[in-house]
């Protein structure tokens, strides 16, 4: 393809961005990566267009250059382009550096053997150290931004290959002390320092003078690929300054020598002292990194951070406050006294409600407040809770009101609930300020809003979310749950159209609210006339709440409603209630109702169903009825009761095709007895009863196999191996096709197709009957001679593993050895059912193999035996 114009490129890039996968699958997809690289050197395109091409490569390198080879080539090409730029100012140098870095990392090409890596790294380090790299790298004015960019590239490489810059710590410290750009160098040094400390600590190695300042790193090549390989084994999470995460990352403790400790302190102090020159977000990063770097060090007190804290606590910056919290979590009392902790909490409380901050910041601060890393936490740290020092007084500005945005309301409501829990623990003090009273008023307000006719779904959702939250926190407080239950029942009366929300709530709350709310809702429904437009909602609620209680009222309501169920949907809804009653074991009255429905309704479907239920009710005992109406295992989510229950019946009466919960494997070979026997191990993931395993031999090389029966199998309970005798028609390996038939604990009969079982050639091996004592060699020689002329003879080389011949024989051929002269010579005789034999002479073993002479009376066995012997050394 020739050079493309600016417009064509713009179009092409637009099409790509709209859907990269669709574009790459199209006709132009394949060439895009290549075109992009070549166009970067085109003289026709403007720099701006080239920057946009590079921007694309920064975002989608994996699509443009999908494998390591392509990525390596792309990085090489980008570096070539960079070197070839004329020495005037250009907007391309920075993005080219970024793009080459991105291509190498994203394409997994970064490594000591990659030519592009070996070019890029010294280039970046040279730029970062402000060395003069010649006129190809632009005018002096561009040096400063390029230096910063090179630092960013190095930082990204270090992030993806932790430890890579472990050998450059001294160099970076030196640069920071001189006149390098403060922010990029600080962040780079902090990251490299953190990674090195972590890797060293894990390897239980010292710092080995890595921190000592010096212009050039010791030993020529500054890249610590060895350290990077250690780090690469598992990228270390950066967050585990959080105590909860600590255990899993296995933070090791590094004990530096006094000399190293001093150097380390000096490096950290150097970074902190100039931290005010960094942007707030960069300061926050620095604190996270250094906090974690020092956390694992024994004997390093975190007081170095102290001078920074007051300044940080005064700001409105989300990241800075968050970083202080990270330090708090990392060092606890060692850095924050009880008074400091109280001050931090107060600042956080202020930030969570300050009118000058945006809502997302309020909410995040509120989250931080409820997850506050206390010096001495009382409860489990994983749950949100109010910190001990955050009394009701501090919280007063954080309570919810109806005017709040839904998210703010829920977040603040959670806080209010937590206060109510504490309040309950104390005595009622007769004070005006009762959190519980608030809570009731607020919930009432939310319900009133949800009750508005035509109101948006969101306000109903909010009301139910709030109710759910309250139940979660205050499930043990009847004083809260009783008014809530009544309020919800009234809400239902006011707006039955919210029935799906009620069903959802009932499904998700525990019995504390669930039980009384079911009663209240049932009462609310059955006390109504049962003929208004809300009937379908009433029936939906009843299907959820109907049980054995208040039978007559429920049946009365259904009887009255039946006449108004004129369409199929309503009839099905009513039948669903009947199913619920059937399942609950309601008897007499229900039979009458079902009979009435079967007579009364005109729709044949509804009529038939009513009759079917009646028959089931009259003929099936309780437990069986439960299974018949229970949810089908195959498709539980179908809306239609008809389909669902048909599956229910079918399930009970038919054999189900199911994914196998059974795992079958072949155990060790038993070379004994008259014929070959396969030892099978069975494991189950769920209990299975009356298991029958049926086998079919592929290719009919064996006689048909009988089924194996097991009465009962349970997960985790070992079952003795099952023995499957084989009757080969000729001595050949094959596969067994396996099917299982079993009954589940719920009473369903299932049928499953299991993965085929391989029968190996060696599984057929049998020893010869005992040779006469004393003349084993003669016995063997007799067998050996008898093979010819009918059979076949061969010699081959059997490679030996490191263990040698003795181990190989004892592992695989032991039962068949007739004459043994360890460690060099063995005579082996194998009987192969139905009536073949295989004889081996392994003699004069050498270090890496043994020559094998073999004879058999069945020429068809020869290739199988050859494969078998050649595979032995690999199997050792």
């Amino acid at each position: 393809m020739g050079p493309l114009s600016r417009e064509t490129w713009a179009q092409r890039l637009g099409a790509f961005r709209a859907s990269p996968s669709a574009f790459m699958a199209g006709p132009e997809g394949e060439d895009l990566g290549r075109d992009l690289l070549s166009e970067l050197r085109s003289e026709k395109l403007s720099e701006q267009t080239k920057v946009s091409l590079l921007a694309l490569s920064l975002e989608y390198p994996a699509q443009l250059w999908p494998d390591a080879t392509a990525a390596e080539a792309a990085a090489t090409s980008l570096l070539d382009t960079l070197v070839l730029l004329p020495p005037r100012p250009s907007a391309l140098r920075r993005p080219l550096l970024l793009a080459a870095t991105t291509a190498l990392v994203a394409g997994d090409a970064l490594g000591p053997t990659s030519e592009a890596s070996r070019r890029l790294l010294p280039l970046l380090l040279g730029l970062a150290s402000g060395r003069d790299l010649g006129r190809g790298f632009g005018p002096a004015s561009e040096q400063r931004p390029l230096q910063a960019t090179a630092c960013e590239c190095l930082r990204e490489l270090e992030s993806c290959k932790p430890g890579l810059l472990g050998g450059c710590l001294g160099l970076l410290r030196g640069l920071l002390g001189q006149e390098g750009p403060v922010q990029p160098l600080s962040l780079l040094l902090a990251l490299a320092l953190r990674n090195t400390l972590v890797i060293r600590a894990r390897a239980r190695a010292g710092l080995q003078g890595l921190l000592m300042a010096g212009d050039t790193p010791s030993g020529g090549d500054p890249w610590n690929w060895a350290l990077a390989e250690e780090g690469d084994a598992r990228l270390q999470p950066q967050a585990p300054s959080w105590p909860a995460a600590e255990e899993e990352c296995g933070l090791a403790v590094l004990e530096p020598t006094p000399e190293e400790a001093r150097e380390l302190r000096a490096a950290v102090a150097q970074l902190l002292d100039t931290s005010y020159l960094l942007t707030p977000v960069a300061q926050a990063q620095l604190l996270w990194l250094l906090g974690w770097a020092l956390r694992g060090l024994r004997g390093q007190t975190p007081v170095l951070f102290k001078p920074q804290l007051v300044r940080l606590l005064g700001t409105a910056q989300l990241t800075l406050l968050h970083a202080v919290l990270a330090l708090k979590a990392a060092f606890g009392e060692a850095l924050f006294t009880a008074q400091d902790e109280a001050l931090l909490l107060r600042r956080l409380t202020v930030a969570a409600q300050h009118p000058a901050l945006p809502l997302p910041a309020h909410l995040f601060h509120l989250h931080c407040l409820l997850s506050f890393p206390e010096n001495w936490p009382l409860g489990p740290t994983a749950e949100e809770a109010t910190p001990l020092l955050l009394g009701p007084r501090l919280c007063r500005g954080l309570l919810p009101s109806l005017l709040h945005d839904p998210m703010a309301l829920l977040a603040r409501l959670h806080l209010l609930c937590l206060l109510c829990v504490e309040d309950e623990e104390k005595e009622e003090k007769g004070q005006d300020w009762s959190p519980r009273h608030y809570l009731e008023e607020l919930l009432a307000g939310l319900r009133q809003r949800a009750a508005l006719d035509g109101g948006p779904r969101a306000s109903a959702t909010l009301c139910f979310q709030a109710s759910h939250l309250v139940v979660q926190c205050l499930a043990t407080q009847p004083t809260v749950l009783t008014p809530l239950t009544h309020g919800l029942a009234r809400l239902y009366r006011a707006r039955p159209v919210l029935a799906p929300h009620f069903v959802d709530l009932l499904d998700r709350v525990g019995p504390e609210l669930g039980e009384p709310l079911r009663v209240a809702l049932r009462q609310e429904v059955v006390s109504g006339p049962g003929r208004d437009e809300a009937l379908r909602w009433h029936l939906q609620i009843l299907a959820e709440v109907a049980d054995g209680n208040a039978q007559s009222a429920t049946l009365g309501f259904l009887g009255a409603a039946a006449a108004h169920c004129t369409d199929w949907g309503l009839q099905q809804a009513l039948l669903r209630v009947c199913r619920a009653l059937l399942r609950a074991g309601v008897g007499g009255g229900l039979a009458d109702l079902l009979q009435a429905l079967a007579r009364q309704w005109e729709d044949p479907d509804g009529r038939d169903h009513a009759r079917l239920y009646y028959v089931l009710l009259a003929h099936l005992a309780g437990p069986k009825l439960g299974v018949a109406l229970g949810p089908s295992p195959a498709a539980p989510a179908l809306a239609s009761s008809l389909v669902a229950e048909n599956q229910g019946f079918a399930a009970v009466l038919m054999v189900q095709e199911a994914p196998a919960p059974i795992r079958l494997s072949v155990g060790p070979h038993r070379a004994a007895g008259p014929g070959p026997v396969l030892q099978l191990h069975v494991e189950v993931l769920e209990p299975a009863y009356s298991l029958e395993l049926r086998f079919r031999v592929e290719g009919q090389v064996y006689a048909p196999l009988g089924a194996v029966h097991v009465p009962c199998l349970c997960p985790g309970r070992p079952c003795r191996p099952l023995l499957l005798p084989l009757q080969p028609r000729r001595p050949a390996p094959t596969r067994l096709d396996v099917r299982a038939l079993y009954t589940t604990p719920t009473g369903l009969t299932c049928h499953a197709h299991l993965p085929p079982l391989p029968v190996n050639f060696a599984d057929l091996f049998l020893p010869f009957p005992q040779a006469p004592e004393g003349d084993k060699l003669g016995f063997f020689e007799e067998l050996w001679d008898s093979c010819l002329p009918k059979g076949a003879e061969s010699r081959l080389w059997c490679p030996l593993g490191p263990q040698g011949l003795e181990a190989l024989v004892s592992r695989h051929l032991e039962p068949f050895v007739v004459v043994a002269q360890p460690p060099t010579s063995y005579h082996v005789a194998i009987r192969l059912p139905p009536d073949s034999r295989l004889l081996l002479r392994l003699e004069a073993a050498q270090e890496d193999g043994v020559p094998v002479a073999l004879r058999t009376d069945d020429w068809a066995v020869l290739p199988l035996a050859g494969d078998y012997l050649r595979g032995l050394s690999a199997a050792v």
Binding site: P181, R234, T279, R311, T315, A316, R346, L363, R396, H468
Partner: protein, 518 residues
Amino acid sequence: MAQRAVWLISREPGTPFCGTVRFSRRYPTVEKRAKVFNGASYVPIPEDGPFLKALLFELRLLDDEEDFIESRDSCSHINKTSVYGLLIGGGELWPVVAFLKNNMIYACVPLVEQTLSPHPPLISISGISQGFELLFGVQDFLSLSQKNDTELNTKLNQLPDLLLQACPFGTLLDANLQNSLDSINFASVTHSQKQPAWKVGTYKGKPQVSISITEKVKSMQYDKQDIADTWQVVGTVTCKCDLEGIMPNVTISLSLPTNGSPLQDILVHPCVTSLDSAILTSSSIDAMDDSAFSGPYKFPLTPPLESFNLCYYTSQVPVPPILGFYQMKEEEIQVKITVNLKLHESVKNNFEFCEAHIPFYNRGPITHVDYKVSFGQLEVFREKSSLVWIIGQKFPKSMEINLSGTVTFGAKSHEKQSFDEICIGGTAYLKLHFRILDYTLTGCYADQHSVQVFASGKPKISTHRKLISSDYYIWNSKAPAPVTYGSLLLLDLSFLQSPLPQLKKKQLHFKGIPIPEA
């Protein structure tokens, strides 16, 4: 500590997708790390189309509110922060930091450097606050002096270059994008060792310092025996320091007159180098008493080049600037209204403007108004069903003005009238809009002598002050009204310790709105 991707989505209700991705940026090297860190719980960043759909669904911005959808409407699906999980391609993309502001959705996905199942607490993820900061930065950049769509597009077109500067590999270097824009332009300036990263160049020219204090006052007034009125002042101090030198030191002091109200909840700009502990601890959480720190509030700082918000504060002044009541009674298709407003004598009676907006929600258009005003004029917006009482520049000598009248409404048409969840039946409010120049309610000021500059040349110092109303509501006292509990309690404490006559009678009691018995 990095972002995997960033999006800007304009919200377009009524269009097929209800929105368009205006900008997106992915960070493949961060994605590489996400894959390793998240392990089995890793969910890749989707393409723009599926992301848009999933995000709008989660934020309830699709036009399909009709049915109950469990994955969105379930009572257990509770979001308490602006961080979401999106169901995409069978997996859950989490954490997605997102918020809606001025019809633009700002979203990003921070890297989580551990497994995602179970979700680690947000507080332990450093990328969350970085993500917020990035999105706030983009939002500030877009809203700065932006007036129309063309300007928005220009700014959106600048974003790729700016993020290449401010966030080249997904790790945010500077949330101030304007700064990055300047640094592109300032590239030729030679820097010296101590150049801060947040200051891209140096100022050349006449030294000058400008300080302006803007106070916003908000209020909720009920005129009820059992509910206390509330009000609060929120101040913002904005500075622009044009001073030569790389790191000029400046100290700015804010002062209060003897009867001024102490400043509380002070949040400062990161360029402030140290902070008095009295400033740090002065908080609205505590009960106010005479010993409260009342300044001067000193802020030593090294200013950035651009204009910046030196600090924010709140304050609890003893009285609201305008105290009023609003009575509204429904009578069939009419409502009768009475409004009384009184300006407090201590407040400067010289407004830039002062208006009372009286909206009528969930009703038809206004067909007829009979009214009497003691002062100013009344404008009627029939279609919007609202009245605007233009009070003008000054209250009369009596400091007290009245409006009474009868408003008649036509039939309600659902298309035009917006639904309001709060103002139902008699629940109604009027909202005051006013602005007073060269005045603060707290009395807070910065004069020329309060500014110390340690740099060459004596700078010209200019100071400005203004008071603006914001969320200044007076609720109909003849019907239930929503109450903000928190501020009420605050008030409780303050009047117990420094009694104010007009509040003494009022007891604390909190009225929600009971559900009418069906």
